[in-house]
């Protein structure tokens, strides 16, 4: 497929703006209530209401950046006049699956908090699980599937269902890739926003990794680091030649 450069740039800018708004509102919400997510001892109804507000903000803030490429793709796959429709249908499929996952995670967090474990135990366990999953072959398989771009129908109802299905499928692999890190801020006794930010950075950086064979290994920040370092080298001295060993003449 081919991309329209202007549309690609517009999508990138819009999604970055949505992420920024998500962060802004998340910070504002945390400032207003003293906490971002469910905290020990909170009234159950109040906690549920808080989660219903905060979860979408958390999702927008943390996951929006990794949706730039899928949204650019789905807009390029279809007719120009259907781009907004395709985008909304994709997001509907995507967010519906994440909403289900979010409900599971928030209620799980509530259960953890109600167990009244020693401070930090739940968070430490969640962090350990997230780290283990991060290194696992299953995580790599999920990351690989996040890069899949299927051919989609261009017309009629099949175009609509295809966009929804792509969103839902993409969400499934996203959840497999990111949910472990999304859960950590939910069970922290404090520092939720900092944890959200750290997880968001990791989630965005690991999407830069090219697909790789599933295996046990450290993954996540390597490509982003190399991209940053490479860009700094390139723009500081673009014409400096690497050490060259020429053929004997």
């Amino acid at each position: 497929m081919l991309y329209d450069d202007r549309d690609r740039i517009a999508v990138r800018n819009a999604v970055v703006a949505v992420a920024a708004i998500g962060w802004g509102l998340s910070i504002g919400t945390a400032g207003a209530t003293g906490t971002h997510v469910h905290a020990p001892g909170t009234n159950a109804q109040l906690a549920a209401a808080g989660a219903a507000v905060n979860w979408p903000l958390m999702l927008a803030a943390m996951m929006a950046p990794v949706l730039i490429q899928p949204i650019q793709f789905i807009r390029g796959q279809g007719l120009a006049r259907r781009r907004t429709r395709a985008t909304l249908l994709f997001l509907a499929g995507y967010s519906s699956i994440w909403t289900i996952a979010g409900a599971v995670m928030v209620s799980s967090a509530a259960t953890v908090h109600s167990a009244e474990l020693a401070p930090g135990v739940a968070a430490a366990a969640a962090l350990a699980c997230a780290v283990l999953w991060q290194c696992s072959p299953a995580k790599q398989a999920c990351l690989n599937h996040c890069h899949v771009r299927p051919a989609l129908a261009a017309f009629g109802r099949r175009a609509d269902t295809g966009a929804i299905a792509f969103g839902a499928t993409h969400a499934g692999w996203c959840i497999g890739s990111c949910a472990a890190w999304m859960f950590v801020p939910l069970v922290l006794p404090g520092g939720h926003l900092a944890a959200m930010a750290a997880a968001a950075v990791l989630i965005s950086c690991e999407r830069l990794d090219p697909p790789a064979p599933p295996a046990w290994r450290w993954r996540g920040l390597g490509t982003a680091w190399r991209v940053a370092a490479g860009q700094v080298r390139t723009w500081r001295s673009p014409m400096v030649t690497h050490a060259v060993t020429r053929a004997a003449s």
Binding site: M1, A153, A154, P211, V227, G230
Partner: protein
């Protein structure tokens, strides 16, 4: 200043009388005598391009390196260390704007090693890799005879001969189906060979498009950090590079194909490097026109390392290592070699030709003026994946009326715009395992007609070089396969002139080079049409 001159492999009739070929055979034999894990071995260099010998890539059957027929006998052990393999192996750059510079450096490194071996065996210190100009005069579309003989004149084994080089018809008559080749070697029906051409030399821009250059550009699409695969090959890469690979390799049966047809095997065949020397020469010829510039983008000049990816690394003689980037090899003037033939290809003004075809005056914008803002959008697509079977397969591409009308309007008023719309046919997510397949794509070919009778309806021919590796679920393409772009503007222009650009559909017929059996697995994910307007 160049120390070495790469000359035509067809000098002295392409026989071993041509000393470049004689010493090439000696050098290849010397490199083949080394172990797989020796950085100076033929096998190591082949794996630099691509391989099926490491545990992650060896399928345990063809095309695994341990399952290749005849000669040469390819070793599968000892493997280098994991660090060495990660540094050097599986580097080949395809479907990217790094295609020309990476292969240039690859040839330099191989040539350096060959030269050292040739000197050690009493050969000339001035030896340089010959090139095979299959567009040359006479019957130069045929493989030089030195490659077809199992024995050298002195009776020793000829290292330039390989068993698994089957040719376009699978009969071991190895030639490149250029227009001259097709004239002199008629293709037996139901085979159909779309021609290998050097039309890409008329392109004006290295990446992107302009009035003379269809997407994605002469050298290839802009690519930095991994964007999601499914990039098309650059115009030089698509034709002649990919097609030549596929035709030369050929296939023996429904499952076995020749070494040249697959990137994981191609470096094993000595003809590979003569083919790539010609591709490199074509890049140099294209650059010889002062209006044809390589990218100045620092992200191209610095190579993929600027985007966090693997840098270009080659082993050099004496155990040395060469780390290079396009900025080190982008001009022939930087290199220690030149070619004996860098004749410029006459420039063409394709826009003027097209306007003449459309019966209109030159566009309002003066030559060299800003091309205007570009819009790219889908015009239409077919509605299901398309398995390729038998001698031809057809599908219907539905066109959106509103977008189709934009194309018609741009053609009707082409003189008042910077340029008329360009229309592309896009074969998306082509998957399978039959790399030795060339697909000729026709638009509105009448049902039941002979494709050979309608060259005016041929959109182009694509070679499925790299199909297997791109279709692997856990591979770099995440199983997304290959994608191809064909400029169908000339065909659309004729439809417009004939009043036929009002139909809601196009019939797209795909004709493989040889009939595909029902058991084969070549599938086109989607056939789509896009317009590029200004």
């Amino acid at each position: 200043m160049a120390n070495f001159t790469r000359s035509s492999a067809w000098n002295a009739g392409g026989t071993f009388t041509n000393q470049d070929l004689h010493w090439y055979a000696i050098g290849v034999r010397a490199m083949m005598a080394r172990a797989l894990n020796d950085t100076a071995s033929w096998w190591f260099f082949a794996a630099i391009h691509g391989e099926y010998v490491t545990p992650g890539n060896d399928p345990g059957r063809f095309p695994g390196w341990g399952h290749l027929p005849g000669v040469p006998a390819v070793p599968t052990t000892p493997l280098p260390t994991a660090g060495v393999m990660a540094t050097y192996w599986d580097q080949c750059q395809h479907q990217t704007w790094f295609f020309p510079p990476w292969h240039r450096g690859y040839l330099v490194a191989l040539e350096a090693q060959l030269r050292e071996d040739i000197k050690a065996h009493g050969g000339p210190a001035t030896w340089a890799l010959p090139y095979w100009d299959y567009f040359g005069p006479g019957s130069q579309f045929d493989i030089p005879p030195a490659f077809t003989q199992p024995k050298m004149p002195d009776g020793s084994d000829n290292a330039l001969f390989v068993t698994a080089r089957y040719g376009p018809n699978g009969d071991s008559i190895v030639f490149v189906p250029t227009p001259a080749g097709l004239q002199q070697r008629p293709v037996p029906p139901p085979n159909f060979f779309g021609p290998v051409t050097d039309t890409c030399l008329t392109n004006s821009v290295y990446t992107g498009s302009d009035a003379n250059t269809p997407l994605p550009g002469f050298g290839g699409p802009l690519s930095g950090y991994w964007h999601g695969g499914n990039y098309p090959s650059g115009n030089l890469e698509q034709n002649p590079h990919n097609l030549t690979h596929v035709y030369l390799g050929g296939s023996l049966s429904d499952t076995d194909y020749g070494l040249m047809a697959d990137p994981g095997l191609a470096g094993l065949d000595p003809i590979f490097y003569l083919h790539h020397a010609n591709v490199d020469r074509m890049w140099a010829v294209w650059n010889a026109d002062p209006s044809h510039g390589n990218p100045s983008d620092p992200n191209w000049l610095s190579g993929p390392a600027a985007s966090g990816e693997h840098e270009f690394v080659m082993p050099m003689p004496g155990g040395q290592t060469w780390v290079f980037a396009p900025k080190d090899v982008h001009s022939l003037s930087q290199m220690n070699y030149t070619y004996d033939n860098l004749n410029l290809v006459p420039a063409v003004n394709l826009l003027a030709q097209r306007m003449g075809r459309l019966g209109q005056a030159a566009p309002a914008a003066a030559a060299g003026a800003a091309p205007g803002r570009k819009t790219v959008e889908l015009v239409g697509s077919n509605d299901a994946a398309l398995p390729i079977k038998g001698a031809s397969t057809s599908t219907t591409v539905t066109l959106d009326r509103q977008v189709r009308a934009k194309v018609s309007a741009s053609l009707a008023a082409a003189a008042a715009r910077p340029a008329p719309d360009r229309v592309y046919l896009n074969l998306e997510n082509v998957r399978g395992t039959r790399d030795a397949t060339a697909l000729s794509v026709f638009v509105n070919l009448p049902e039941g007609s002979n494709p050979a009778d309608h060259p005016e309806l041929l959109a182009g021919t694509v070679g499925l070089f790299g199909l297997r590796r791109a279709s692997v679920a856990g591979g770099q393409h995440v199983g997304g396969g290959l994608s191809f772009l064909l400029d169908i503007s000339p065909i659309v222009d004729q439809l417009h002139l004939g009043g036929a650009l009002t139909a809601d559909t196009l019939r797209v017929t795909i004709v493989p080079n040889r009939p595909v059996p029902d058991t084969a697995d070549v599938v086109v994910g989607r056939v789509s049409v896009y317009r590029e307007g200004r």
